[in-house]
């Protein structure tokens, strides 16, 4: 049984322009100790999916359906439809999160000590000193020198990379089972990115956590993840093990994403290719294939095929794809 089991998750936002189908029926499992990468362009629903079941989307004008079952010490619980208070107790304890921009994600007016201790105190009825010791321990663990001293420092007194280390330390305060890292390296320098990714790998091993790594950059996924979910237009369009995906990307969109990664082994001669076109509007998506407008292999399909929506199907063991090009294979639904 998976640690986290997402089934037919749908998220709708009511906006003045109409209903936005931000996530339209996403299902996936996260196993214990596994690192699952969720990849997609902005607006693909990769962040919203996770924020939704964590209860971090604005409550007004948002509709969330489906189920997200998490295995906890107290048994299995469905995060969707859980009371606000119960979900709060899971946030930061069973499931912790780190975010893209560590500058804006840390409160500028509180010292990082305050913020770390607060994270621990929220879930543990212990003396402040205990939380403080825990904070020092974790800061040391994530590689902050002089953690004792640095507790008093404010976020603006840290470099970007250091701030992200602090965020990671904060996420680890309560030994979470799942760590959701939402674009953890996007705002950082390339050299720092590698350090943070390495840190994430190290702590994952140490804490035996499952990690959901949300990113738009397939490049960071290569050495970091076990599985990859590719999202497009609020739907899962391909899901495979990392090796499978890199060696045999099926969906033209995945191929496009891979092509847009600068790769050391391809020399300097080849220009990076971006996927032509814009991500789809999520208002009234219609019944056709959401990727049709940008699909480079549309011509291979019979006329009118793209006006119908493809189903997610397994083309081999553990490799799922939502694409008319692979219609002959059987659906896994």
């Amino acid at each position: 049984m998976a640690l986290l089991s997402v089934r037919d998750l749908r998220v709708q936002f009511a906006t003045p322009d109409g209903i936005v189908d931000a996530v339209s029926g996403v299902s996936f499992d996260l196993k214990e100790g596994e690192t699952l990468a969720i990849v997609g362009e902005s607006g693909s629903g990769k962040s919203v999916t996770n924020l939704a079941y964590m209860g971090l989307l604005p409550k007004t004008r948002t509709t969330i359906t489906g189920s997200v079952v998490l295995k906890t010490e107290d048994g299995e619980v469905d995060l969707i439809g859980m009371s606000v208070e119960d979900l709060r107790k899971i946030r930061g304890k069973d499931v912790a999160m780190i975010f893209q921009d560590p500058m804006s994600a840390l409160h500028p007016y509180y010292s990082i000590g305050d913020q770390l201790i607060e994270a621990h105190q929220a879930h543990n009825e212990v003396a402040k000193e205990v939380s403080r010791d825990r904070a020092i321990e974790l800061l040391a663990l994530v590689g902050v020198a002089n953690p004792d001293e640095r507790l008093k420092a404010y976020p603006h007194q840290f470099s970007g990379g250091m701030r992200q280390r602090v965020m990671i330390a904060m996420a680890l305060m309560n030994n979470p089972k799942v760590l959701i890292a939402d674009e953890p390296t996007t705002a950082l320098d390339v050299t720092v990115q590698a350090q943070i990714l390495k840190l994430l790998r190290d702590i994952q091993a140490k804490f035996k956590m499952a990690v959901i790594l949300i990113t738009h950059d397939l490049g960071v996924v290569a050495g970091a993840a076990d599985r990859v979910n590719v999202m497009y237009g609020g739907r899962l369009v391909e899901s495979a093990s990392v090796n499978d995906l890199y060696e045999n990307p099926l969906m033209p969109y995945t191929v496009g994403l891979l092509d847009s990664i600068p790769r050391m082994d391809q020399g300097h001669g080849k220009r990076l290719r971006a996927i032509p076109g814009q991500p789809p509007s999520l208002i009234q998506l219609g019944s056709g294939c959401a990727f049709a407008a940008r699909c480079s292999r549309k011509s291979e399909l019979p006329n009118g095929k793209c006006e119908t929506s493809p189903e997610l199907k397994a083309v081999s063991a553990g490799h799922l794809v939502r694409c008319h090009l692979y219609d002959s294979k059987e659906s896994v639904k």
Binding site: G92, M97, Y109, S111, M170
Partner: protein
């Protein structure tokens, strides 16, 4: 520490320069207004050009502008003597001049008016902060709900009802038509004379003034909170599993503190220049009424003094806010 001292003394130096510039500008403006100060010194007799001419010389209005300004500056530091013989009057430093219409040294008049205005400003500041922040928080927390609608109605009434009318309504219903009322219909009692009387004389003015400001602050606090709520660090706070109360009461409000303090500081400074309408309706002899009457009577020494003072308060308040900011925002503390 010496760095801080240097900073403060530099700030003070700049402040004095600003004030000199302000006083000079104010003096300049009033010297070029189309009023002949000499013709304001003889009332009904000013139809007689001879009397006007004699007064102009005797009161020094015949001197060039810069000379008058210099005399003013000297008076500021050394005091100034008016009149001669038995009618001699000395206004001790810092002398802002003498008002022949009020028969007093301007510094004394200002000295009497300031405690009244401070009493009015502090009380209403407290009241409007409590009301404005409270309602703003409630409105933001229950955004789109009945409480939000009610607070919007309050904002609408508070911002559109003129202070004068609010005051009059309070006086009519809580004084004139209320035999049980402990409140006087107006006037000011000094706290050292009668502390209870002081309080009672200020309750209605505080409410009147706070009402208008509270409406503005409700709207401001509500929008600040809603804006801060979308910040990443508020999402982080939620992600940590903090309760909504802590997220709002601690993380959101801490961030809203800086803009609220800035606004309150500047509004408070503005009020110290005088709350003209509230002071008028409640007959409080504060800076507002002093300034208003000086303008109506074209009492130049008072106008110059109150203008300079109002500017000084704003300049000083800005300096104070800079220091307070260092406490609020660690990023300013370098």
């Amino acid at each position: 520490m010496s760095g801080l001292l240097a900073y403060i003394s530099r700030r003070l130096g700049v402040m004095i320069l600003i004030l000199l510039a302000v006083s000079f500008t104010v003096y300049l403006i009033f010297s070029f207004l189309p009023y002949d100060p000499a013709s304001l010194t003889c009332g009904k007799n000013c139809a007689d050009p001879e009397i006007i001419a004699a007064n102009r010389i005797r009161l020094g209005y015949d001197k060039p502008f810069y000379e008058q300004y210099w005399v003013f500056l000297v008076g500021l530091f050394a005091g100034r003597t008016y009149g001669e013989g038995q009618a001699e009057i000395f206004c001790a430093a810092p002398s802002f001049g003498y008002s022949f219409q009020q028969n007093s040294c301007v510094t004394d008049l200002v000295g009497n008016a300031i405690p009244v205005t401070i009493s009015l400003a502090i009380g209403s500041l407290i009241l409007w902060l409590v009301m404005g922040v409270g309602l703003g928080v409630v409105a933001a927390k229950f955004r789109g709900k009945i409480w939000d609608t009610l607070s919007t109605a309050f904002v609408l009434v508070g911002t559109s009802l003129p202070t004068f009318l609010t005051g009059l309504i309070l006086i009519v219903f809580f004084v004139i038509k209320a035999p049980w009322s402990p409140f006087p219909p107006g006037g000011y009692t000094a706290p050292d004379v009668d502390i209870v009387g002081w309080f009672l004389s200020l309750v209605l003015p505080w409410i009147t003034l706070a009402f208008a400001y509270a409406a503005i602050y409700t709207r401001f606090v509500r929008s600040q909170i809603l804006e801060i709520s979308t910040e990443d660090y508020i999402r982080t706070a939620r992600a940590k599993g903090l309760s909504e109360g802590v997220v709002l009461g601690k993380h959101t409000m801490r961030a809203a503190l800086a803009p609220i303090v800035t606004m309150a500081g500047l509004d408070f400074a503005g009020l110290l220049g005088g709350a003209i309408l509230t002071e008028a309706i409640f007959n409080l002899p504060g800076m507002g009424r002093l300034s208003l009457n000086a303008v109506v009577d074209i009492d130049l020494p008072i106008i110059v003094a109150t203008t300079i003072l109002a500017a000084t308060i704003v300049v000083v308040m800005n300096a104070i806010l800079d220091i307070v900011y260092a406490f609020i925002d660690p990023r300013v503390r370098v």
